[in-house]
Symmetry: C2
Subunit: 619 residues, 2 copies
């Protein structure tokens, strides 16, 4: 199997041209001298989890933030890394392939070789399987040349398997020790970065000198938090999907006779669906987060869509486009509960054929109501992370069928007076994630690759490479490193029958923030999108000319630069200090005391564990 990897096929003209594209570097990473500034010690966003996380990660919890600065930056405490001994670094692709993944390896390779030509980069072949079995390929410029700025993970291959069981963790440890790796770079999403943190802790405990670094690469876009603004692959996948959605919108409007139901990738969270909606303006999107927040049943959703179809029919419109995130099935309360029962029976070893007869009465009634195709799909074994096989469950077909049945019923009753309802279903999954990466993803991944080296050079373990200020051009990007534990939370509720009531610390997928600006933009326009067909076509992904430098709308509208805002707060505090010095008037002191007492009171309440547990409702 190995022999295929690193052996490129024939490149098209565009692929060749893309292979020549050289991503830029922000000023802080240019040249061979980089300063590291160590910032604050970190905590986690959920105060209720601190104790559990610090207990689980005694060696790697609470470490300081790191910022990479130019050698000439005027920060007194920053330290310049001057020694660059020979280094041996391993790199592995984990989870679903995301456009841009190859560029992380390229960036890492370039900077490793720049700092010491004798250093080596070892790729694990076939993903984590290769990590466990020590199947390696030394990355060279010759091998890289055909994968620069190219999509897929085919230079090394990948796996969806996790690094979780004791055997797996031990195998990884043994590999790193045998190969005497100084660093291990794990390229992946929330699960893989959780695994990276766990490995880092295990290695520290075992006295293994390999430092573990995570890189946020996932087309789902759900590895988002105070430190991580975007994920490699999300930009490309949203652009490719938006183009296809827009093409379908144009099609709908030209033919005027079909409703298209399109399911999009993105796992549990609906980031891809939200971004594509903002780019393409389809008539409707059913976000999993809205459904969960409003506890909408499958019948509520069906009714919503039917009402929309009816309202459009009254304006003589018999076409439309409805987007559905692949995670929807787990957001619908009754379907989620049914899935939990099924998965629990799977765990008890009940065979798929016998599960339906062992369901509780209510679950059985729901199950029997569903069409056969969806029953078969719900009965599939859960994935290794306990979630349903979301890519296999055709919710778009289920909704289209239910809507058709309901519209036909309304037609008979005389409440719907329009033409026949025709639906065509699509799943846009696999056709986007192997795409040539957008310029943004090429740049972002390449720079992250560079940061990985600097994290290792600074001797840090259990960190993720991060870049903030991403909505600005590359030369304004701020590069840093964050302990992965600072992104972890602990779920406080039971999940499935018989499982424990407190989860393990993990980097959990961020869901769409229903109070965020991107979602606000959708709400603001939803009525227009629904009725007015103001479809918008971002067009095919461009590498030159107009559109080639565009970024996702989510990234552009969200408040970002968390670290910049932390800095701003510190400036305020400094300013208060400088005003309220001995000698200031009684009135100034009184005002300052009163105001600060109020601020600290509010923040104490918001930061208490009991407040935190309310603020984090289950998905």
């Amino acid at each position: 199997m190995e022999s295929d990897f690193g052996v490129p096929g024939e490149l098209s003209d565009l692929q060749k041209k893309r292979a020549e594209y050289q991503p830029g570097l922000p000023p802080c990473l240019q040249g061979t001298t980089v300063r590291v500034e160590f910032g604050d010690f970190t905590t986690t966003a959920d105060p209720a989890s601190n104790h559990v996380i610090s207990h689980s990660f005694p060696h790697t919890y609470g470490q300081r933030l790191a910022h990479f600065l130019r050698a000439t930056a005027k920060i007194p405490d920053a330290q310049i890394i001057t020694e660059h001994p020979v280094m041996k670094v391993g790199v592995v692709f984990c989870g679903r392939q995301s456009p841009g993944g190859h560029n992380v390896i390229w960036g890492l390779y370039d900077t490793i070789k720049l700092h010491n030509p004798k250093s080596t980069l070892i790729g694990f072949v076939g993903g984590t399987e290769g990590l466990f079995a020590q199947k390696t390929l030394e990355v060279t410029n010759e091998i890289l040349s055909a994968y620069k700025n190219q999509g897929g993970y085919d230079m090394l291959g990948r796996t969806k398997d996790q690094i979780r069981t004791t055997e797996q963790v031990n195998a990884a440890l043994k590999t790193c020790q045998t190969l005497q790796l100084d660093g291990l770079v794990i390229i992946g999403g929330v699960t893989s970065n959780t695994d990276a943190a766990q490995l880092a802790e295990t290695f520290a405990v075992a006295g293994c000198s390999t430092k573990v670094v995570g890189v946020p690469v996932t087309l789902n876009g759900d590895l988002k938090n105070q430190f991580v603004e975007a994920n490699v692959g999300f930009d490309t996948v949203c652009k490719i999907n938006s183009q296809l959605i827009s093409n379908v919108c144009v099609d709908a409007l030209s033919a005027e006779k079909y409703y298209y139901f399109i399911r999009l990738m993105g796992r549990k969270a609906s980031h891809v669906a939200l971004e594509c909606t903002l780019q393409s303006h389809p008539n409707m999107v059913i976000l999993g987060e809205e459904v969960a927040a409003s506890k909408l049943t499958i019948f509520d959703i069906t009714k919503q869509i039917c009402d929309a179809v009816q309202a459009r029919a009254e304006q003589d419109k018999y076409h439309g486009v409805v987007l559905i995130p692949e995670g929807l099935v787990e957001s619908i309360p009754e379907l989620y509960a049914l899935l939990q029962e099924i998965h629990s029976l799977h765990k008890q070893g009940v065979s798929a054929e016998k599960i339906s007869s062992q369901l509780s009465p209510w679950a059985s009634a729901l199950f029997e109501f569903l069409p056969p195709f969806i029953r078969r799909q719900l009965l599939l074994h859960p994935e290794s992370d306990d979630s349903a096989q979301l890519s296999q469950i055709e919710m778009e077909k289920l909704l289209a069928q239910l809507v058709e049945t309901e519209i036909n019923k309304r037609l008979k009753e005389g409440t719907y007076k329009g033409k026949k309802f025709n639906a065509i279903c699509h799943f846009f999954g696999y056709q986007a994630r192997g795409s040539l990466p957008s310029k943004f993803d090429c740049d972002y991944a390449y720079v992250l690759g560079h940061i990985c080296y600097h994290i290792l050079a600074a001797g840090l373990n259990g960190y993720m490479a991060t870049i903030t200020n991403l909505k600005n051009p590359v030369n304004k990007w701020r590069c840093g490193a964050t302990p992965i534990t600072a992104m972890m939370t602990v779920k406080q509720w039971a999940r499935g029958q018989g499982s424990s009531s407190i989860g393990k610390p993990a980097v959990h997928p961020a869901t769409v923030d229903l109070k965020g600006k991107a979602y606000g933009l959708l709400r603001q326009n939803a009525a227009k999108f629904l009725m007015e067909d103001i479809y918008r076509n971002p067009g095919p992904l461009q590498f030159e000319g107009p559109g080639s430098d565009s970024k996702t709308i989510t990234l552009s509208v969200e408040d970002q630069d968390y670290m910049g805002r932390i800095k701003k707060l510190q400036d305020y505090l400094d300013k208060v200090k400088s005003i309220v010095k001995p000698g200031c008037s009684q009135d100034v002191l009184k005002a300052a005391l009163s105001a600060m007492a109020s601020v600290t009171d509010i923040l104490s309440v918001m930061s208490s564990p009991s407040y935190g547990s309310h603020a984090h409702a289950p998905l």
Copy 2:
């Protein structure tokens, strides 16, 4: 409904930029003075059909070819059209939307207004329905501005309905007479252009002064013959699909665990599948034409794929990509026969639920063997052109299931020793045809629009706008007009039970030429594609920079320039004449006589009706 058309939505940055793109014109169409050269009187490619066609089209059969030349061209017979009276032209979109359709209207509008600003262009709203019901929209520059170089047919809308029944033809005639149209331009594929020819003849018989012009616009790429090298939309659709196929190939190679079965649009012919294969190098493609030529059964095809899966497994490869044209079902002899029985029962008014009980014993046995989902799809009503609802019949799923069953059987028998076979199915249909058109399609459509005007200005009726030498840059393109009847043939065999044994003259879809160069290229590389995974990614459709000027491989490799070669032959004949003049030697005369006798003998045989009927085997 009308109010929506011509009302643009919000354009993205790329859409805006594309709207500013100005396609070029070949020298012969630049300026306001164009010469028309009338060439040979035409015949048809199939000598056996001449009689039937000339009988059906007494007014429009056999007309001369027309070539458009620069005013300064040194062709003595050519005539310059100097008068450009006020003209009123109607235009209608027919059939499936193809990227570039809007540009035909734009080109037509520009040249109409250039020659006489008082002339008007009337668009029929909602396709042929608008034509029958006189629902119109005057095309203005303001309306056009948001549709220039944009995809879809949403400026006017479209329908799939034909202009075929007496009522429809009469309604169209009435519309043209009422609106006093000088010309009617019909934008569509084989069916619509056949209808255009029929309308032209009917109008001529009725003494209606409206001249009818057809334009070859169909993403299927099957309106191909001596006069038509390519169709508007094919280039874009193949590029978009090839990108998606390539993305899936990269995905397959990255994950190494799935076989992807992808069905492509293209109706009965496999041009799209062939072109995409040449662009993307997937492992396999099942061309309908190969299947029909070799009379492969569904079991033969299943076995072919299984053998490929097995051969790849022996090389430790468990992934792959298989392309399937949507017309495949009608190319498989036993499925086609089953469909014919079903359609015939439909025609007899048997309801879908009862059809299965009335099938002949063998058809019933086959029907019962098939999985329920495909049975339901086969029972769908045939389309208006008597073909099955190809877009609805999921042959990719059927093949994936049959292959899985067969591989599992081989696994039990011990002949297949590899890992489990996993298939994922896709239908790439609706997501490509609404795309922003490629530069080639923008240019091609725009220039065709110009030609439509010149055809009308020359007073021609029943012609199609044609451009040859397309593989060269725009300034080398040769523009002309061909009587649509010259592209017609008559099918000589029975189609379905109870239908007549001789068909009507029609422009039939051209199938992939199994002796052609494009197919030769596939055959030459098929073994490598199958085993070596030399996937190639043409990347997203580009509008600037590398790749933006590429054309389809089919167009680039095929021998083209039919008219150029006719010209070359005439040069040979002239040369023989000039050598063999009175006074030449006896030997020269003897050699010439002998050689020419042999040439004329061969050509006489090849052009005889009986030879022709053999050469045109049924699809």
